[in-house]
Symmetry: C2
Subunit: 471 residues, 2 copies
């Protein structure tokens, strides 16, 4: 049949992988079937070669990945103590300040993180004003370290200085600990870079008044099972990253009587309880270190292609994979797309920031959005989007987690174990629910939305991963 | 075409409304389209005439129903006090015992309700043993009254005697009050007819120790907004009838600090808080009186065909409609179909019991099952069933309630205002999530499941309703 004859007839078209052709077909009222398709690895020849090579090692990689997800699923996590970072975290030094994301120096630090560091210096009493703190930095050696290097995690700026109280979580299966600073609440807080006297005063109260009450209460009750609360909260509308209302409520129920039993004055106990119940996000700083503990359990497994860390410092996004625990794979952090509070827009936003996407790394947060229809009112989109995100994350994970179920999807287990092979092959990136910080220190949260790691992190990771194997 | 010729050919059948024909078609491998259809009012000629008559008064009925649902939606409900029934409930008498469901006498009373009455007599000190209590009943006049006659509601047996503490809820929009006894917890409790010394002791503790603490705490905080908690809890996996975990948590968060601020000894406050937090169903006895208040707001509207009460005493099911507030329409209560605890079956079950379906009457509970996928693990069925029930209830309600939303159904408002015309026309009956009591007093809950009112209640109601109109 000649081509002119062909186009003279009624056509029924099958379109494969080209959305632009569809528009033409639509405009000409031509019937078609559309098949969504994209070349593996965005058609990147180097990456296709890498995938081919890894295909030849499929068996050993698959086996290693099975081991990772089994360990991650089995990990426990109990809040057992609340202590100063210097007393709790092995490797913490008296002149060290921890921060979120991959390795960072003062010069390239995002403004909210800088603001938080300056606030921490005042909080420590190393300077009495923020201006003095800037001077102090020039004349004293401060060691900056990512939280993750010391098994700590912190939301947003994630700044932890030696005297700050941290939640201490213990995994009895693996005999490991993880740490997280306490959540200060919303509004003007250190994690968004605010460092005014009211912020410092609240941090001092947390250290001097709140920490000892919580620590004694935890001794009285023998600790609180954080994993168990996450399991329940996912069936109560939380995704335990940006929505923690149910989890905070359940935690509050468990800690109330132990706090009442402590030896502190009535008013101090009352204030401690009020501090928890007045902050719907209190539990975020427990869900994060639990996810850290679980991912720790899956760290260091030879040949495993599972992501164990995703984290961002407001400048770069970094990931780590199980078999290469000492290597960060970094690329410039993206901007969060979402809903802005009145008066703000993307122009005002800092790039993606914080260790909190350890939750998504562990299969909750954005991965469990289907558990939390109400989250779309905070991060944007529709309930159907939330369902779809949870479904599509199954495409890039090695397994799923029966401990963490999605009620509206008939209690389907949440996707678990991001496999860099699957990310590269499908081009689907992990979805992250995230708060949005103002790019200037101290203004605070200006919105919330969705973001992904840059593809480049995974490109770098898979090349390094493949280098470990013989041809 | 002759009939023999017709059946000699290949047939493509359209089957309308007859499921038995389908089986034959299936067995003969005949292709068909099936149209589900049932005659209005089950084909009952009398009821069809009634519906015809009401159709001629459609305008005035519709208008009245609009008024009912507007009032119901606007009703507020705050827990303002906790008092002895005799001190709280106007019309309560020193020798009166309230019970769930429509009017009932001792002779026909279901066994769990009898057990609860005997327990109440011991609790009041009118007798010192259950045996003595039976004697007391023969020699003393006890007035039995449905809770609903005094704007009270009680789950299961629903027994309230003069000295029992009740939650007092206030609707400031309509200046009305509703009442409910306190939830004792699960297991062996009075509302399932248990009346052993441990049950009586708990009730005495509730009166002597718990009630004054709660009452003082409510004065300190100025009351707690129950409607607001229901609104939130429906977005946290509760349907606020058989699942109240989130609502109980939110209530606990609000009452903790006020209880700490009361003047009572530490230990008493601690025990009061433990009593609330150790009972996931505590909030049921707040959600019920809120629903009662809301339905009260819609009561007594001339020409309105909306159901304002559904209730059962373990023997009969009774409903009331807005325009005939003094008439019960009763029929024998049905059996609950559902999941039984190990060792029990339907043979052990009492018929449907309790005032708790005031929640469904007000558009939550079974009507809001889509908000609570986890409920299917308790009452049986699948998550899809839960979604379908919430959808199908929209067929028999006059409106829906934007205050009560169903997150998984894209925050669709829950069905509100059961219209007896629609029930009769469609044959669809209100769905109720219900606990199942053992038929013998004192054994307690043996399962949970789904039930409906008998169709007969609606048949009687619509005939009486239609009698109010001229031809």
């Amino acid at each position: 049949m000649k081509i002119n004859e062909l186009f003279g007839k009624d056509l029924y078209v099958v379109n494969i992988g080209s959305p632009t052709f569809l528009k033409d077909l639509d405009s000409q009222n031509v019937k078609y079937e559309n098949l969504e398709w994209a070349p593996p690895a965005h058609g990147d020849v180097e990456l296709i070669k890498v995938l081919d090579k890894l295909e030849r090692h499929k068996e050993e990689i698959d086996k290693a990945n099975d081991e990772v997800v089994a360990k991650v699923k089995a990990a426990q996590g109990k809040l057992v103590d609340c202590k100063k970072a210097i007393d709790a975290i092995p490797g913490m030094k008296p002149n060290m300040i921890l921060h979120s994301g991959p390795v960072q120096d003062w010069e390239h630090m995002a403004d909210p993180q800088k603001g938080a560091v300056l606030g921490a210096i005042v909080f420590e009493g190393w300077a009495s004003t923020v201006e003095e703190a800037e001077e102090y930095l020039k004349t004293h050696e401060i060691i900056f370290s990512p939280n993750h290097h010391l098994n700590s995690v912190g939301p947003m700026a994630g700044v932890v200085s030696p005297s700050m109280p941290v939640h201490v979580l213990y995994d009895e299966v693996n005999d490991t600990y993880a740490y997280c600073p306490l959540n200060e609440g919303l509004g003007g807080v250190l994690r968004f870079g605010k460092n005014t006297p009211d912020v410092i005063e609240r941090l001092l109260w947390m250290k001097n008044d709140f920490m000892p009450v919580l620590a004694e209460a935890l001794k009285i009750c023998g600790g609180i099972d954080v994993r168990n609360i996450i399991m329940q909260a996912l069936n109560m509308g939380d995704e335990c990253h940006n929505r923690n209302k149910a989890a905070t409520s359940l935690f509050f129920r468990e800690i109330t009587i132990p706090i009442m039993k402590t030896s502190f004055p009535e008013e101090q106990k009352e204030k401690a309880l009020a501090f928890i119940t007045n902050n719907e996000h209190y539990f975020l700083n427990l869900s994060m270190p639990y996810c850290k503990l679980a991912q720790l359990a899956g760290t260091g497994v030879k040949n495993a292609s599972i992501v164990t860390i995703m984290s961002r410092n407001g400048y770069e996004f970094g990931i780590k994979i199980s078999c290469l625990p000492d290597e960060w794979f970094v690329a410039p952090a993206l901007m969060v797309k979402g809903l802005y509070f009145p008066g703000y827009s993307e122009e005002d936003a800092a790039p993606d920031l914080g260790d909190s996407c350890i939750t998504e790394t562990n299969g909750i947060g954005g991965f469990a959005m289907a558990a939390s229809p109400a989250i779309v009112k905070f991060v944007g989109g529709t309930v159907a989007d939330a369902f779809n995100y949870s479904q599509s994350m199954q495409e890039i994970t090695w397994s799923n987690n029966p401990n963490f179920t999605l009620p509206a999807l008939d209690f389907k287990p949440s996707a678990l174990g991001i496999d860099i092979r699957k990310v590269i092959e499908s081009g689907v990136l992990p979805i992250i629910n995230s708060g949005i910080a103002h790019k200037k220190a101290g203004i605070g949260q200006i919105g919330a939305g969705l973001v992904t790691p840059p593809f480049e992190c995974f490109r770098k990771a898979i090349i390094a991963f493949a280098d470990q194997f013989e041809d």
